[in-house]
């Protein structure tokens, strides 16, 4: 039964070896998806390429439905899987700052690492900027600490918040994703930029 490294008390080096292998798979999947291209990623926000939405939602649903199935068959204890805590102010303000960074830089941290791995120099500079951002955060942390901790809601889960079962919520998310995929395909036709997309 999973999570393996938690339940079987494997030595730490095995967990780190798993981390390395998961990283290889993660980097491989992002690059194959085309997330190593900033102009492809930026297409999401101008409608000419909606790969981001398709990959992102498909991945979230596979992992969500897959973990529900593993839990149903008694193979995974979901109570032991980390659930992100919700600090309302920090999440919203941080998310808005990230969105601005996304459209300026053309990458997010994961896709930037993916692009660096195939030699994109703009991604290298993005990640150097990212290191400066992490440094600035650490140095300004005392100033924003109070705000960052405000409205703490704990590891709150959306199915409980909506008062539905995880299975029903998963179904709702799948229906929403299919609707979004349909819109995305329409957008790619309406906002088509062949001079960019043939170049990618």
């Amino acid at each position: 039964m999973g999570p393996l490294t938690i339940l079987s008390e494997l030595p730490e080096w095995i967990n780190l070896l798993i981390a390395f292998c998961i990283g290889i798979g993660f980097g491989f999947a992002l690059e194959q998806a085309g997330f190593s291209s900033s102009r492809k990623l930026a297409g999401m926000f101008y409608g000419y390429d909606t790969t981001v939405l398709k990959v992102f939602f498909t991945a979230a649903i596979v992992a969500l439905a897959g973990s529900q199935l593993l839990s149903y068959f008694g193979l995974l204890n979901l109570k032991l899987v980390f659930v992100n805590p919700y600090y309302m102010n920090a999440t919203i303000i941080g998310g808005v700052i990230m969105g601005a960074g996304f459209i300026m830089g053309g990458y997010c941290p994961g896709t930037g690492i993916s692009a660096l791995s195939i030699g994109k120099i703009d991604a290298l500079i993005f990640l150097v900027g990212g290191m400066v951002g992490a440094f600035l955060f650490a140095e300004t942390y005392p100033l924003i600490q109070t705000m960052a901790m405000e409205n703490y809601k704990g590891p709150m889960q959306i199915d409980e918040w909506m008062g539905v079962s995880p299975e029903i919520f998963t179904l709702i998310l799948i229906i929403a994703a299919v609707a979004l995929f349909w819109l995305a395909e329409l957008a790619e036709k309406k906002f088509s930029r062949t001079e960019i997309t043939t170049d990618l």
Partner: protein, 170 residues
Amino acid sequence: MNKRNYMNPYLAGVLLGLVLLAAMYLSGRGLGASGGIKYTVVALVGAVDKQHAMESEYYSKYFENGESPLKNWLAIEVFGMVLGGFISGALSHRLKFKIEKSPKISNSKRLLFAFLGGVFFVYGAQLARGCTSGAALSGMAVLSVAGFVTMIAIFGSAYIFAWFFKSLWI
């Protein structure tokens, strides 16, 4: 040799989802990227000015166990990412040093905004306790409200700011 096409996005999504599921099953956690950047910075600050790191409330917690901040699940995963991306790029003939940008802007403009974008993104990710990978994607997979709110905030904000930065891309 000509570069190969990217994988079908839905298929790539399934692959990414299975990697995330493997992380949940094997290590009881999701994926991450900005965290790896943070640990690199913490290690650098520790190497350059150990005294500053130990006196700071923010850095000192990463040095408590006496081990290098890089001996951490997220930091090791990020090293793996570079190798995985490289393997994918090699198989698909996409390994090439280049500055990717719209032909309408200069290299220095692209690099300036890439730098600023990185500063903003990772600053925001530290505040929100995760980026598109660790907070939005992994968070959504465990039904965390933080995951859904992060996803909506990142994409909603990028759509609004996209209007101002149009000239960078189209």
